[in-house]
């Protein structure tokens, strides 16, 4: 089969690889009908996340049709249409039973690596480094879904892939980012980053009843999409003092809730700490660039909440923890517990409360995937979300 394969920094190729096979009774194989490139895939493309090996198949936003089922899998049958959550879950461990699916205790087959890197293992992820299991990803013609009797979202036929595909990651990730804020009717929610997760977080915050949503980015087309979703915007290329601007917009008080939909590769202009991060990262003295985290801590209203769906991978420097502590901020983070939200979000799609396909700007075949990684990374051609149809 054809698949997008990681070979090294900024080197992803469309290769021929062996077809997946059933390896465990709970498995299923799907024929991929649609998959997508996620912003967090760019951390692998740029090789800021450790733990990739040449030959790894990329992709963790995938849906398709079940074509083979393991003998112990009683939940799926051939012909079922499923969206595959990016977190692989057993559905049985203590964390899964609590709904904390992204920290499933059993699906990371490289548990020792996860324990070393994070203190305790987290869930296995598709196509996302050997720290999280080294599972082949879904930017391919076929995908083996481990623990498939739990790791799936059954979806009805008759709804286009484009409306459903993002149940795999960005829609529940944006939703959880907003839910973590415990939004109150009087809240102003500031959202850093208007990429796909930021766009979903904006819509989620609006749906959950935020009084105001303020979105921060510098890419004009992303800002215009944020405005379409009901956000006021700050272009940080034009307004370098984001914290000051947020204070101006909120009567000097700051937003009650802040969401980081950027993560470890923050780009900033005219900012001393961003230059510092670049230099330290180049010298391998820091893995992540936490510009947004610093800004959120300083901007958030005291006793507010910081929600961090943006992905971080390692060690961060110069975090103003004194401000965080003295302001009494609550921080909520985590990979998304996709299956915790998927039934509710599927219902909202079916009831036409929201159509997540608004975010798609490019649809290509697998062979064009490598080029689209670059286009997406460089924010060229108005690119916000790439869907691949193998």
């Amino acid at each position: 089969m054809k698949a997008l394969v990681w070979h090294g920094t900024t080197d992803i190729r469309c290769d021929s690889v062996p077809d997946p096979t059933i390896e465990d009774g709970r498995d299923a194989i799907i024929k991929v009908t649609s998959c997508a490139i996620c912003g967090s895939d760019l951390h692998l493309y740029d090789h800021f996340m450790p733990g990739m090996k040449s030959g790894d198949i990329m992709g963790h936003e995938t849906m398709g049709e079940v074509v083979e089922v393991g003998r112990d899998n009683k939940a799926l049958k051939v012909g079922d249409r499923i969206v595959v959550p990016f977190t692989i879950i057993c559905g049985e461990c203590d964390q899964c039973r609590r709904g904390n699916f992204s920290v499933c205790e059993r699906t990371n087959r490289n548990k020792a690596l996860g324990d070393t890197a994070f203190g305790h293992t987290t869930a296995g992820l598709f196509g996302y480094t050997h720290l999280t299991g080294g599972y082949p990803g879904g930017q391919a013609e076929y995908l083996r879904v481990p623990f498939a009797d739990a790791t799936h979202i059954k979806v009805p036929k008759g709804i286009p892939d484009e409306k459903l595909l993002f149940l795999s990651d960005i829609f529940p990730t944006g939703w959880q980012g907003a839910v973590q804020c415990d939004i109150q009717p009087e809240d102003t929610v500031a959202i850093w980053g208007c990429g796909p997760v930021g766009q979903m977080a904006i819509r989620s915050a609006i749906l959950l009843g935020a009084k105001r949503v303020i979105a921060i980015d510098r890419v004009p087309e992303r800002l215009s999409m944020a405005e379409a979703g009901g956000a006021e915007t700050i272009n940080f290329d034009e307004e370098s003092n984001v914290v000051g601007r947020l204070n101006d917009m909120t009567g000097g008080k700051g937003p009650e809730k802040c969401i980081d939909a950027v993560g470890l590769e923050a780009h900033a202009t005219g900012s001393l700490d961003a230059v510092y991060d670049r230099a330290k990262q180049a010298m391998m003295l820091e893995t992540d660039r936490p510009h947004v985290l610093r800004q959120m801590i300083m901007a958030c209203r005291p006793a507010g909440v910081l929600s961090v769906p943006g992905v971080y991978g390692g060690l961060l420097d110069k975090i103003p923890f004194g401000a965080l502590m003295n302001k009494g901020l609550t921080v909520r983070t985590g990979q998304t517990h996709v299956n915790r939200w998927s039934d509710d979000l599927l219902r909202r799609i079916e009831e036409d409360q929201i159509d997540p396909s608004f975010v798609i700007t490019h649809t290509v075949g697998l062979e064009d995937g490598p080029e689209m990684y670059r286009t997406f990374r460089d924010k060229q051609d108005g690119c916000i979300k790439v869907v691949i149809r193998p």
């Binding site: 920094t9 415990d182 749906l207 890419v219 004009p220 006793a303 608004f358 075949g365 490598p370 051609d381």
Partner: protein, 202 residues
């Protein structure tokens, strides 16, 4: 390649305008490949300068400059490694352009007096000038690749994802019960009008 500006959502007000401006590029753009080539060239030239400074100086009729040539060699190797290792080679290619200028200025000093190897020197200067042109083309290309679209080139103002204007959708999911473990704990919830607000049931 088929690029669809957006699937018909059925919910957004209208299909967004879809001016497609960018040219197709491979996984590595031509300029990025050129940068990598220049990186390897830099390492090769640098090693030659580091390992054979005497032969180089003799060929160019610039005896006595061996230490300087070795220093330039170290610079070339460092720049080449940086180009190959960096996520964005643009600043390092600019560094090469500056280095080219330094090389040309140094070579120019060799024409002073009666240098019997001035023909070799002219050839070397021409070669450096040629590489300088490639460096400039490369750095301009890399810069152009990263240039963002002009404001308004991609207008996504119609892409709300909502069936009604965003303002009308505010609070449409307000009935969603935030799970207890995602809520601000009751004793920490903000008060309203100076009084504690009862925690909502899970």
């Amino acid at each position: 390649m088929s690029r669809a500006p957006s699937p018909p959502s059925g919910l957004t007000a209208a299909a967004p305008p879809a001016p497609r401006g960018a040219t197709g590029r491979g996984a590595h753009s031509g300029h990025e490949r050129l940068a990598r080539g220049l990186g390897w060239f830099s390492i090769g030239l640098g090693l030659a300068e580091l390992l054979a400074p005497r032969a180089l100086c003799r060929t160019l009729g610039m005896e006595g400059r061996e230490a300087l040539v070795q220093a330039y060699g170290a610079r070339e190797v460092a720049t080449g490694v940086a180009i190959l290792m960096s996520h964005d080679p643009t600043p390092w290619i600019w560094g090469r352009v500056a280095g080219d200028a330094l090389d040309l200025a140094t070579l120019a000093t060799g024409f002073e007096g009666d240098n019997p190897k001035s023909a070799h020197l002219a050839l070397a200067a021409a070669a450096v000038a040629g590489v300088t042109v490639m460096d400039v083309v490369c750095v301009q290309g890399l810069t152009a690749d990263k240039r963002p679209a002009r404001p308004g080139a991609f207008d996504y103002r119609s892409r709300s994802g909502f069936p009604r204007p965003a303002g009308a959708m505010r609070g449409a999911a307000a009935g969603f019960a935030v799970p207890a473990d995602f809520r601000i704990p009751g004793p920490l919830r903000p008060w309203r009008n100076g009084r504690p607000v009862p925690d909502a049931p899970a």
